[in-house]
Amino acid sequence: MSILVDKHSRVLVQNITGREGSHQTRQMLAYGTNIVAGTGVGKGGRTVEGVPVFESVEEAVQATGANVSIVFVPAPFAPDAIVEAADSGVELIVCITEGIPVLDMVKVCAHVRAKGARLLGPNCPGVISPGLSKVGIMPADVFTPGPVGLVSRSGTLTYEVAAQLTALGVGQSSCVGIGGDPIVGMSFTDILGLFEADPATEVIAMIGEIGGTAEEEAAAFVGERVTKPVVAFVAGKTAPRGRRMGHAGAIVSVGQGTAEGKIAALREAGVLVGETLEKTTEAVAALVAGSRR
């Protein structure tokens, strides 16, 4: 079991004919992801890595039954690609694209919500259910199947934590990067709810960072709805106020978004918060070992 993607996911690559799209398609196919279609404006009828290319998502969905899409469309056109996927009945849209204007995402998220679709990202590494399906750009070899559900706002921290867990002999059910932008589709809360309901997930690891209130909301959700043990890490304790730390979303402003506030809220809700990544992954490993005993 897993969340969001598995062997039954029929994946569509939006802008499969682009450099990044075709490269990542190769990587995902190598992992065993069931890629059934791609789109490329003005490129309908071709194939990329054996995958048929369509002019529109609607045509791709009709021809192949794709139900998950991954978006490699450049920032100026990515909002449109997400809207197109949502309008065409795609259930899960994973947007890798970085640099989308945030007010575009205000509109896109409202649209996706109204259509009843799920959006991961933008500016995210995607999702991997180790051994089953990879719909993302993460280096596959650091992930291994197992009982830990991992969710993070950061790409490299996802890889780092997964690698440390794997090194400790602890595998993952699914690893989800929700994206580093101020406005993203699925939140920590959404993913925590899915992990809570997923029988394959025994322990949840959550990697937050400064900016916004997503970690505080996650803490409230854990307090009320999550029965599985949750371990967290929050990056950015040393970040100065009012400066954007790489991620457009990683900025402390108008009294919101400090690491201290997030850590306090998480601890309040009974979440174990690691001081370093190493201590965080060790705590996760200990909980897994404990639950296995």
Partner: protein
């Protein structure tokens, strides 16, 4: 992207927001002339990209053209809050009864724009948010419908306005809201929004921060950029396509990924050091970008040691190592370097560094400890 007060002011004035008469000036003589035109009683305001300029001498009241000239002389060509003052805004003095705050920001949780107001204007809203969060009133907007009249009116009443002031405030708030969207702003505020002794509303300062990601479609706004007001290292980083933020510490760090970069900074702090910068080279950096990033760090005179923390994915560890080896060979590396390499081609990267002066660490904590110790050693030299 930050903008100057006079730029934000001009934009908001275009939406009908009332400001007192003012003019931009570049020399003291110009300031004197403008002050005379404006009736003699003016404020001279340094146009710099820095908060808190008032306390730092960047805003001065003058009651004659001559005083204005002197105020300008004390600012122009000087540095205030680390920013060079090249131009000042000369603003006609207004007699205020009260100072309010009005601003718009993104509400990430509700995924829309929130308009905020406070009766405690004239000070940094961050301070109000901390000291008296209840003094800030907020309304969340429907992005389709916009800021409703009733919402603007309720903000107006909450900050103590009444009668015709309520409609005037509504017009200003709706103008601010429209400008926020039209400018792809991430922050737009009027602070203070003054209430004059005769009860009229007038905007006395404006701050606009524009979403960098949207500049591609706002060429007019992109042209407002004043590179001279930015940290040269940050400008260079932006030019080569890496994310750099200067900090106050002594350990320069280069990391791939914003989250990992912050975690690295935090670890340095935890083991007793302080990071000299945030630097994320991104997921797919090229050789030349890595080289440029290393040089940016080394150019910082406060750096006493460098920590390189790479989780190889698309980016290959051997490429990073090679860039470092090249710099070492050129004698450009003036501080001790600690490197941690994990992931794609990590072994190859470590092999390249064998025999150089570079220290290799296995974990992030170990790397941070080594860097902090080496920096302390440097300091003692």
């Amino acid at each position: 992207m930050n903008t100057h007060e006079y730029q934000a002011r001009e934009i908001l004035a275009g939406y009908g927001v009332p400001f007192p008469p003012a003019k931009l000036a570049f020399t003291a003589a110009e300031v004197e002339r403008v002050a005379r035109e404006l009736g003699g009683h003016v404020f001279v305001k340094a146009q710099i990209h820095a908060g808190g300029r008032g306390k730092a001498g960047g805003i001065k009241r003058a009651d004659s053209p001559e005083e204005a000239r002197e105020a300008a002389l004390a600012m122009l060509g000087r540095t205030i809050r680390d920013r060079m003052v090249r131009k000042v805004l000369v603003v006609q003095a207004v007699y205020l009864a009260r100072e309010l705050y009005l601003g718009a920001v993104l509400d990430r949780s509700l995924q829309t724009v929130t308009v905020m107001a406070s009766a405690q204007g004239g000070v940094d809203i961050e301070q109000v948010a901390e000291a008296a969060p209840e003094a800030i009133v907020r309304v969340s907007t429907d992005p389709l419908y916009g800021l409703a009249d009733y919402q603007a009116r309720s903000l107006a009443r909450a900050v103590g306005l009444s009668g015709e002031q309520v409609q005037a405030f509504r017009d200003i708030a709706q103008a601010l809201y429209r400008a926020f969207w039209d400018c792809d702003a991430t922050l737009l505020e009027i602070n203070p929004l003054g209430v004059t002794t005769t009860g009229a509303l007038v905007a006395l300062d404006a701050k606009l921060v524009i979403d960098d990601n949207a500049l591609f479609r706002r060429p007019g706004l992109a042209a407002l950029r004043d590179v001279e007001q930015e940290d040269p290292a940050e400008v260079e980083a932006q030019r080569v396509g890496v994310q750099y933020v200067r900090l106050a510490g002594q350990i320069g760090c280069m990391v791939n990924g914003a989250g990992l970069a912050m975690a690295t900074m935090d670890t340095i702090h935890l083991v007793g050091g302080e990071p000299a910068n945030f630097l994320d080279i991104g997921g797919g950096a090229r050789s030349d970008q890595i080289d440029a990033a290393l040089r940016i760090i080394l150019r910082d005179p406060h750096v006493r040691a460098m920590l390189i923390n790479i989780f190889g994915g698309i980016i290959r560890c051997d490429m990073v190592a090679q860039a470092l080896v090249n710099l070492l060979a050129q004698g450009e590396v003036r501080v001790p370097v600690v490197v941690r390499l994990v992931g794609t081609k990590a072994a190859e990267g470590r092999a390249l560094l064998a025999g150089t002066s570079v220290h290799i660490a296995d974990s992030m904590v170990e790397a941070a400890q080594m860097a902090v110790a080496l920096a302390a050693g440097e300091d003692q030299r």
